[in-house]
């Protein structure tokens, strides 16, 4: 099986043995336009020595089963997308509902992926997870609909079937198997910066609260979660401050992600109608 995929402008061809077709399925939200020319190739196949993963002519790894090598490809896609990117990239997730484009910068373990997946399951368009890549001119968000990596707790919370591709910690899901994925729009203007904050249930407090914050808090969150600000710190600073200034910044406090996502979706849909 073959797939030509595009990760933030970097085009690669993926060729896998049919037994590893799940990997092609997972990455198909990143399928490149038919006219795109691949700048490299991954080949996952079995030979006399077991399963092998090649990147062009280089051997990236061997294993007894295709699964660990598929996970290697999934991580390599992020490397290809982000490694040479000098425009600002922050750690976070992004979703869209009607004209609203919300980014959720967050540190690892904050529950951002579970919340993003819940938002998609609640009908929001998926734009990106893990990376929030901004355009070189700044301020506009580039979609990067990579597969969502959820830990077991997140999978159970969202009621998902066991993942076909997984490692000990996480399982991968194609976003378009969970809900809608934004179409091939080149870039989006961010309207909302949402800082997610999970909390335990508290009597006399609503399940979900959305509190407005000073935009500076949003800029700080973007900078704190910068993935590549060392490439061009000035551009990172200008992008983070411009995005936060042009957006509404919120703290989303919630007990569980599916409830928060449904609440947010209903609220934003109602605001969109008015």
């Amino acid at each position: 099986m073959r797939l030509t995929l595009q990760a933030l402008g970097n085009v690669r061809q993926l060729e896998v043995d049919d037994r590893a077709a799940a990997l092609v399925h997972l990455l198909s939200d990143l399928e490149a336009a038919p006219t795109a020319t691949a700048g490299g190739r991954w080949h996952l196949h079995e030979d006399d020595h077991g399963w092998a993963l090649h990147e062009d002519l280089a051997l990236l790894g061997r294993a007894d089963h295709w699964m660990p090598l598929a996970v290697r490809v999934l991580r390599r896609v992020d490397d290809v997308a982000l490694d040479r990117r000098t425009a600002f990239v922050a750690h976070g997730a992004a979703v869209r509902l009607d004209g609203r484009v919300a980014i959720m910068p967050a540190e690892s373990g904050a529950g951002k992926t579970t919340l993003a997946a819940a938002c998609v399951a609640a009908g929001m368009d998926y734009l990106s997870d893990e990376a929030l890549p901004f355009s070189a001119a700044g301020e506009q968000l580039l979609p990067y609909p990579r597969p969502l990596a959820l830990d077991r707790a997140g999978q159970q919370l969202l009621g998902l079937p066991p993942p076909v591709v997984h490692d000990a910690a996480e399982g991968w899901y194609r976003a378009s198997d969970l809900g809608p994925v934004a179409g091939p729009t080149p870039a989006f203007r961010v309207t909302d910066v949402v800082l997610p904050r999970r909390r335990s249930a508290e009597r006399e407090r609503p399940d979900v609260e959305l509190r407005p914050l000073d935009p500076a808090v949003g800029a700080q969150a973007l900078l704190r979660n910068g993935l590549n600000h060392f490439h061009d710190a000035t551009a990172a600073f200008l992008t983070a401050t411009a995005v936060a200034t042009a957006s509404r910044v919120w703290c989303l406090e919630y007990e569980d992600a599916p409830t928060a996502a449904r609440w947010l979706s209903a609220r934003w849909a109602a605001e969109g109608r008015t």
């Binding site: 500076a216 700080q220 704190r224 910068g226 000035t234 411009a242 200034t245």
Partner: protein, 121 residues
Amino acid sequence: MHFSPHRYSRLQNTDVRAVLSKEWANEIGYWGLTSVQLRPAEGVLTRTVGDQAMLLDPSAERALSLNPTAAAVWAHCQPGAQLETVLAQLAAAYGVDAETIRDDVTATIDHLVELGFLQAG
């Protein structure tokens, strides 16, 4: 924490409002308060974001987020400004006595100088 060539390094934003330093106040006193001229360090980037001011230092290694009060201090530290002038302007703006805010303003200026965003001399 500073910008550093590590993929997952984080940028710390320091809020200066709570920082007090008597040493700097004493030092200014020794030199003579009225003779110290203040100016933003060359190359400092400033952006107003909401109610706050965000600064990036000239080497692009440290970003600072100033709360509204500290942002007002920063805004009055234009080239050639003197501490007494800044105090008088802020006192007038906030409708308070200059002595009431002297310690906080001095401490804010001290910290901005320490971090290299402001130059005094």
